[in-house]
């Protein structure tokens, strides 16, 4: 089945799943309260958005320079930087590294880029056991599901469902008390943290002037997972670079505010390389995989490159009324919601054009974006690109006809009259043009006269 058809069916199924909709709605209600509190902590939230947007604009405009600066600093501290043009190159690099170093166990902290390149299965093929250490990510890993949301991967699950999963997969689970469930996950993770030879993380930001990666979590798992194993591998998109260390002063709180309404996430870590002489902690090896995978192609499009400013806070998903009905799995993509619909056709091609159409263009995403990406207008531009590439012939003809009709008020009036008669005639048949409308809604009652007729007749 092609992705468009699959999306349509999944989305329709989720739209009528009231239990599912109730879970998302509950989570989003909770988010809205937290977000309001988070925003209220800023003296000037709009100003913070402006500053973050400007920082990321600068970063994207001078991406190459900042990345080179970052690379030089990391190398000077004994780290290795690998530029991966494709997902395959990135996967192979990490899998080969694991093989070469005799790695048996890998701990991961949450990273969407590793989802994007399907790193876990590549490592498993290389003979490694891989464990997700973010609790939500661990839960979906146990269930063999992809993350449901960029920030909260297990948002779609109830406590009962998590309990069922744990009971099935972990020994000794007797109650659905959150404390016990967390303790059980922690027992597994602790053992992995201390026995893993490789820790993999993403990066929330790459700081150019200092050559540091900035990591943000609420569970502290990234800190353990990057400090304890002897090899730390960072897998990240090239667009994560920011110019200066001081930029984090505004980026960190704004990210936390937009993502979860927190003033700051609980754990914020800067890492600049492997353990140095005389240091007792930290990994022996430090690798940064800088992934392109379609990003420079988007960078080349001056009109849409700002989509690379995304800091993966998930605010656009939370605000999106479409996401609120269908949730993250229906999209069938790594990045869901509005930002996913903007990026995926650029990253994965025209098979994903349908996502740009799966929006009412309401603009709630753009209004919530902390770095002011003009998301819904990019969906419009994606649609224009889709038309330039390939759209169904019937649709093309329909719009050509539409234009021809509307270029003359006489033709428009004539067609409108015919259209109304036709609609009445075909109602209830397989050819009814309003069939899709009538399935979910009662059709409007058509007036006898159009406005222009009333104007001519002196009724206005």
């Amino acid at each position: 089945m092609n992705p468009a058809r699959e999306f349509l069916l999944n989305a329709a199924a989720k739209s009528v799943d009231l239990a599912h909709r109730k879970i998302i709605r509950k989570n989003m209600d909770h988010y809205e309260v937290r977000l309001a509190e988070g925003v209220a902590r800023f003296a000037d939230w709009e100003g913070a958005r402006d500053v973050c947007s400007a920082i990321k604009d600068d970063a994207i405009e001078h991406l190459g320079d900042y990345l080179k600066q970052f690379e030089a600093k990391v190398k000077a501290r004994g780290g290795v930087v690998f530029w991966a043009e494709t997902a395959e190159e990135a996967r192979d690099y990490v899998a080969n590294l694991a093989r070469d170093r005799g790695v048996k166990r890998v701990v991961k902290s949450k990273s969407m880029v590793t989802e994007e390149i399907h790193l876990t299965s590549a490592l498993e093929r290389a003979g490694c056991e891989v464990l997700e250490t973010d609790l939500g990510e661990y839960i979906v890993q146990l269930r063999n599901e992809p993350p449901y949301h960029i920030v909260t991967p297990a948002m779609h699950l109830t406590r009962k469902e998590i309990y069922e999963t744990f009971k099935e997969k972990l020994p000794g689970i007797t109650t659905d008390e959150p404390v016990e469930l967390v303790a059980a996950a922690r027992r597994v993770m602790r053992e992995f943290f201390f026995s893993a030879e490789m820790g993999i993380s993403g990066a929330n930001f790459l700081v150019a002037d200092s050559g540091m990666i900035a990591l943000t979590t609420n569970e502290g798992n990234a800190r353990l997972g990057t400090a304890l194993p002897r090899i730390h591998v960072v897998v990240t998109g090239i667009e994560k670079v920011v110019p200066k260390l001081s930029d984090l002063g505004i980026l960190w709180p704004t990210l936390a505010g937009a993502a979860t309404g927190q003033s700051l996430s609980a754990y914020n870590t800067l890492i600049g390389g492997p353990r140095r002489q005389n240091e007792v902690d930290g990994p022996e090896e430090f690798h940064v995989v800088l992934l392109d995978n379609g990003r420079t192609a988007l960078l080349a499009e001056s009109e849409q490159r700002e989509a690379l400013k995304c800091i993966r806070c998930g605010a656009c998903l939370n605000n999106c009324p479409v996401y609120r009905q269908i949730g993250g799995h229906a999209y069938g993509t790594t990045y869901q919601g509005p930002i996913g619909s903007v990026l995926t056709p650029h990253f994965r091609g025209h098979d994903f054009d349908h996502l740009s159409y799966a929006s009412s263009l309401c603009g709630a995403c753009t209004a919530g974006c902390p770095v002011k990406i003009d998301l819904h207008h990019h969906l419009l531009r994606n649609r224009r690109n889709a038309v330039q590439n390939s759209r169904p012939l019937l649709e093309r003809i329909a719009f050509r006809l539409f234009r021809w009709t509307m270029l003359s008020s006489a033709r428009y009036t004539w067609f409108a009259g015919i259209g109304k008669k036709l609609a009445t005639l075909l109602r209830g048949t397989a050819f009814d043009p309003l069939r899709e409308w009538n399935r979910y809604r009662t059709p409007p009652q058509m007036p006898k006269k159009s406005f222009r007729q009333m104007w001519r007749d002196g009724d206005v």
Binding site: R396, R441, V460
Partner: protein, 235 residues
């Protein structure tokens, strides 16, 4: 001094809900505007533009501006269509020339300080904030200001009044199930207020909301802001 106003009656209003246009015209006349209707107008091009057919939309946009060339001020009863002209024509035509004279109806009234147009509508009403009016044109408090001056009207806010109703033009047909689910949430929030009417500045949102309400057999009705403002006390 009020300007002479050209009526922008979107194709959709012309064909499906002409009464909205009639009511807008009535209010404009009541406050002392001279009005005229450029009969050559058809469609602003929004359906083509939103679906990605920018070449087709561009020709319609150029034609649209020509039709209103002689107008001093143009007023239309649809936030979405006015947003197409003011917000999207610049992207489409790479020019903002002649766009500043186009106004959405409530915007126009407030620009000329017509907060009270002498309307009377003794019912409970809740407001849906149409997305294009709200987020493209910044129309949010204006309609409420106008409603507060209507005799007998009780305004009851619904939760998430600014969440999309799910119409979105061709979206409502291409993704009918998602659109209907959004409409279900919207009408649910509206019904919770126990208002008699839900109003908006966009007839296309109202058509969608109305279609869902009637499918649910809800007693709640939809009414365009212009029709509320056109209502007068029974003599």
């Amino acid at each position: 001094m009020l300007p002479r106003v050209a009526l922008f009656i979107p194709c959709f209003v012309d064909q499906v809900c002409p009464q909205v246009g009639v009511d807008m015209a009535r209010v404009l006349r009541r406050i002392g505007c001279e009005i005229w209707f450029p009969e050559d107008q058809t469609c602003c091009g929004q359906p083509a533009f939103n679906t990605g057919y920018w070449q087709d939309a561009r020709q319609l946009a150029a034609r649209f501006l020509k039709v209103f060339d002689k107008a001093e001020v143009v007023v239309g009863p649809s936030g979405s269509c006015v947003a197409m002209v003011r917000k999207f024509y610049p992207e489409l035509l790479h020019s903002t020339f002649g766009l500043e004279k186009f106004f959405e109806f409530s915007e126009f009234l407030l620009k000329y300080n017509m907060e009270d147009v002498g309307a009377s509508f003794p019912h409970k009403v809740t407001v849906h904030d149409s997305c294009h009016a709200n987020r493209e044109l910044g129309i949010r408090q204006g309609p409420r200001k106008l409603l507060k001056n209507v005799r007998g009207l009780e305004l009851i806010e619904m939760r998430d009044s600014d969440e999309c109703c799910g119409f979105g033009g061709t979206f409502s047909v291409k993704f009918g199930a998602i659109s209907a689910a959004m409409g279900d949430v919207k009408t649910g929030n509206a019904e919770q207020t126990q208002a008699d009417f839900v109003t908006a500045v966009d007839p296309s949102c109202l058509m969608h909301i109305d279609g869902i309400l009637r499918k649910k057999r809800s007693p709640m009705k939809t009414i365009h802001l212009a029709s509320i403002l056109a209502s007068e006390a029974a003599q």
